[in-house]
């Protein structure tokens, strides 16, 4: 996993979605019970990823949004497209 990308995504989630940094690991389930993101948050993630990396995630499959790890993987695979 590209930790530079992962760290940028983590900072974006902390800043834009007010998730406490100390409770957010790269493998935390973002849409699970603990962090509990919802559909409005996913809009914000799509906008944040677009701003940071120019990668469009509109319509991307749900599993790509599961963790910072899966988001990072998606960004790595689609950067520069």
């Amino acid at each position: 996993m590209n930790t530079e990308i992962a760290e940028k995504i983590k900072n974006m989630l902390v800043e834009n979605l007010r998730i406490p940094a100390d409770e957010l690991e790269y493998t935390s389930e973002l849409f699970g019970n603990d962090i509990g993101l919802d559909s409005i948050d996913s809009i914000e993630i799509i906008a944040g990823i677009d701003n940071l990396f120019g990668v469009q995630m509109t319509g991307a499959a749900r599993e790509n949004f599961q963790t910072i790890e899966t988001l990072t993987k998606y960004v790595e695979e689609h950067m520069g497209e």
């Binding site: 019970n33 603990d34 962090i35 509990g36 409005i40 809009i43 914000e44």
Partner: protein, 781 residues
């Protein structure tokens, strides 16, 4: 039963995309003509939608003052309504006519302008800062027309324009005013457009309620009704349009933006309104629906209407938003004006936008309900309902009638007690200096204490955080557990001066810097003033009355007066009354630029400024029978309340001292006592020499003696509405005996300890910019 408390409509004023007066708007609405065009107010570059229903007139054509557009739209409509009502305001009658305005986005146009100026030129005009808060609107209207009755801005987003009418009727029925200029106003704003755009809630085409339902189209405007007691209208020979019967306000306790899919909250508001009108669902001839055109609203509203009205074989429903757009805080009042016209003319405005294919689909979905597609319907309208549902899960419904109808008398004159107190405030020892002032300290432990999970609290902005904690603390202190047995009998009133300004400014700055397409979907729901009350109701499960009032510093004590009004009108048995205002770097910067911050102390009388504070203080107010049933301890009785006004420029108080004296006298009279019976005052001195001077001068006139004054802002700073509620909380704690027999007070501005052991009555009073005042009398329980 009885109808001696009749409220009638005697004047109408309307401005929206359909025209600049009631006749033009009504003629367009009845004719099925749309006001929706391409947006002109700001750039919609990179946005997937560009439709809006804007008012053609520029702000300088609306009124001569240098006010925010929301105030100017409201003045324009209020002017028409007062003239239509033939209401002549005189020094003798001005104190009996007040202003209650519903609003969503406050001075959004001015916030946009301020931060655009700052972004483009590096400097912005401090005078624009006073135009930002929703607090200014009703006060500006009162100032323009010289109205000196109670003022309030109801800031419950898209339900505000209906709630304002409901509250005006309650106050008139309680004898607290003869008449109100009541309604709502909102300007077209990049704030709302960018927000709904970010949520993908805008329709790319003109909105299509109960039809394609693929999003809203925003609009702007103001709708004003002159509402009077029947006796007052008859005495001055006024023409009467129609009656306003009952109304209902409820809370979904479900989600911050989406309505409950099962429609339960909407139905609760409609049920309350119909029941409070002494009617059956089968009596209703017409409903002006909320009908926004989002899939979630329309599905829930279809369900609510079918569930409640399928026995009604003559019901027509339409959404005039298909022509006016969704005017947010003005929506309910614009629709009220159109509904009054429908009742008077026996003509129903249509829902427009149906093609032949759409009509076939509608036939399936509509069942026995007539949705008045495309063209007006002529039919006798004896009883009409107008519905408004809002962000935060706030619902309101109100009934208009052609003829008088006996209303059930739910009035409850039981004693009201404070049975719980929850506080979130900073302390003077923590003053950060450098103009930052005093701030409250909230940690994750505070959330854990009340079982609030991170998944919930991370959504909250500062304003919502402090409100949630203080509200939960008050419920815990009052030993209240909310379940199915009491969830509908508990309500919330939140007072604030400045609302969630930090979230609003953060959102607006991103839009100014990055364009209208750069709005944050995460942040937008928190930019509405009622989000904090929404989150609180969702977490606590409170499904009753839920209103947020923005009305400068005094809103914290006004929330207590309002909560008492709701309890007296028989709506609920328990109310949470809160005062909440935040202090972040954004708030401190804005107050700093107004030149209002200084390192001063109450009654130092040497500086034109104060130490900014923040916080939220919540009180549990409860009827005597509820207190007895629950067997809980009482802090004190809320024995009397009063709201007064003396119209001066917003941002000033000079010249309005008489209204403070009047508030004190009226609160005492409401408690059945005179100012001579008051033992001490829990005052509002904040260190600003003009404010503190006005306070001492008014106390001199009202009490005619050296009365001890407690100054809570000494410890928490000028926490505005929170400090107001704190004044009452402190008075209640002193009277309860929990704080001992002595307390530090100021007598003629000099500090000394006083013996409070024999105290029976303490009065708490508060000021608001623009001349609004409120006062409550707390009595030893």
């Amino acid at each position: 039963m009885g109808n001696e408390r009749r409220c009638v409509v005697t004047g109408l004023g309307l401005i929206c995309a359909l025209g600049d007066n009631t006749d033009k708007c009504w003629s367009a609405a009845a004719g099925g003509i749309t006001g929706i065009r391409e947006v002109k107010t700001f750039s919609t570059e990179d946005c997937y939608a560009n439709k809006g229903a804007e008012v053609a007139e520029s702000s300088d054509k609306l009124s001569h003052e240098d006010y925010d557009r929301s105030s100017l739209l409201c003045i324009k409509a209020a002017g028409e309504a007062l003239a239509d009502a033939g209401y002549t305001v005189t020094p003798e009658n001005s104190g009996r006519i007040g202003v209650i305005v519903g609003n969503c986005v406050g001075g959004a146009a001015s916030i946009d302008k301020y931060y655009t100026d700052e972004f483009k030129t590096g400097s912005a005009k401090p005078s624009d800062i006073l135009k930002m808060p929703a607090s200014a609107i009703a006060n500006n209207v009162a100032r323009h027309f010289g109205l000196n009755g109670a003022t309030a801005n109801i800031v419950n987003a898209c339900a505000a324009g209906t709630m304002s009418l409901s509250y005006a009727c309650d106050l008139i029925r309680a004898g607290k005013a003869d008449a109100f200029v009541a309604g709502g106003s909102d300007s077209f704003s990049s704030l709302a457009f960018a927000g709904f755009h970010a949520l993908h809630a805008l329709s790319a085409d003109a909105c299509s309620p109960f039809n394609h339902s693929n999003g809203i189209t925003l609009g702007e405007g103001a709708g004003i009704l002159i509402i009077e007691s029947y006796e007052h209208a008859v005495a001055r020979g006024a023409k009467i349009y129609c009656e306003i019967l009952g109304s209902g306000v409820s809370s979904d306790a479900h989600h911050i933006t989406a309505p409950r899919p099962d429609g339960q909250g909407q139905m609760s508001a409609i049920r309350r309104a119909v029941k409070n009108s002494g009617l059956e669902f089968t009596d209703i001839d017409y409903i002006n629906a909320h009908g926004t055109g989002t899939a979630k609203n329309d599905e829930a509203e279809f369900l609510s209407l079918h569930t409640l009205f399928d026995e009604n074989k003559h019901l027509s429903v339409s959404s005039t938003k298909s022509m006016t757009g969704h005017c947010l805080g003005a929506a309910g009042s614009i629709e009220a004006v159109l509904t009054v016209k429908a009742v008077c003319e026996d003509v129903l405005p249509p829902t427009i936008g149906y093609s032949e294919e759409d009509l076939a689909v509608l036939k399936e979905k509509a069942g026995g309900i007539d949705f008045v597609p495309n063209t007006k319907r002529e039919k006798t309208v004896n009883y009409a309902v107008s519905n408004s549902f809002a962000f935060g899960g706030n619902n309101a419904s109100i009934v208009f009638a052609k003829k008088p109808h006996d209303l059930p008398d739910n009035t409850n004159r039981e004693k009201i007690y404070i049975t719980g107190i929850g506080k979130v405030c900073g302390s003077a020892a923590e003053n950060a200096g450098e103009g930052k002032g005093i701030r409250a300290n909230i940690t994750s432990d505070d959330y854990k204490e009340h079982g609030i999970k991170m998944a919930f609290y991370r959504k909250l902005d500062r304003f919502s955080q402090i409100q949630l904690i203080s509200g939960m603390r008050a419920l815990a202190d009052g030993k209240i557990t909310i379940d199915e047995s009491n969830e509908n009998d508990i309500g919330i009133i939140i007072g604030t001066a400045d609302g969630p300004m930090t979230e609003i400014v953060g959102f607006q700055k991103a839009v100014v810097e990055g364009g209208t397409a750069n709005g944050s979907a995460f942040s937008f729901p928190n930019t509405v003033y009622n989000a904090a009350g929404g989150y609180f109701s969702i977490f606590a499960g409170i499904k009753g009355y839920n209103v947020t009032v923005a009305n400068s510093v005094q809103a914290g004590i006004q929330s207590i007066c309002y909560a008492a009004d709701v309890l007296h009108s028989g709506g609920e048995s328990i109310m949470v009354a809160s005062g909440t205002d935040e202090n972040t770097d954004v708030d401190a910067e804005l107050y700093g630029k107004l030149g209002l911050l200084a390192d001063s102390a109450p009654y130092s009388m040497d500086k034109p400024g104060f130490v900014l504070g923040e916080g939220s203080v919540s009180l549990i107010m409860e009827t005597e029978s509820s207190v007895e049933k629950r067997g809980v301890e009482k802090y004190a009785e809320v024995a009397g309340c009063a709201m007064t006004h003396c119209a001066v420029d917003f941002g000033t108080v000079s010249g309005s001292e008489s209204a403070l004296v009047k508030a004190i006298e009226e609160a005492c009279a409401d408690a059945g006592i005179t100012p001579a019976d008051i033992d001490a005052v829990s005052g509002f001195a904040d260190g600003h020499k003009v404010i503190d001077g006005l306070e001492l001068s008014a106390y001199g006139k009202a009490f005619g003696r050296d009365i001890p004054v407690f100054a809570v802002r000494q410890e928490i700073g000028e926490a505005r509405a929170a400090a107001g509620t704190m004044q009452a909380a402190y008075a209640a704690e002193l009277l309860s005996g929990k704080l001992g027999n002595t307390a530090a007070a100021y007598i003629s501005g000099k500090k000394s300890d006083v013996d409070i052991s024999g105290y029976k009555y303490i009065l708490a009073a508060a000021w608001g910019a623009g001349g609004s005042y409120s006062a409550v009398v707390l009595k030893k329980a």
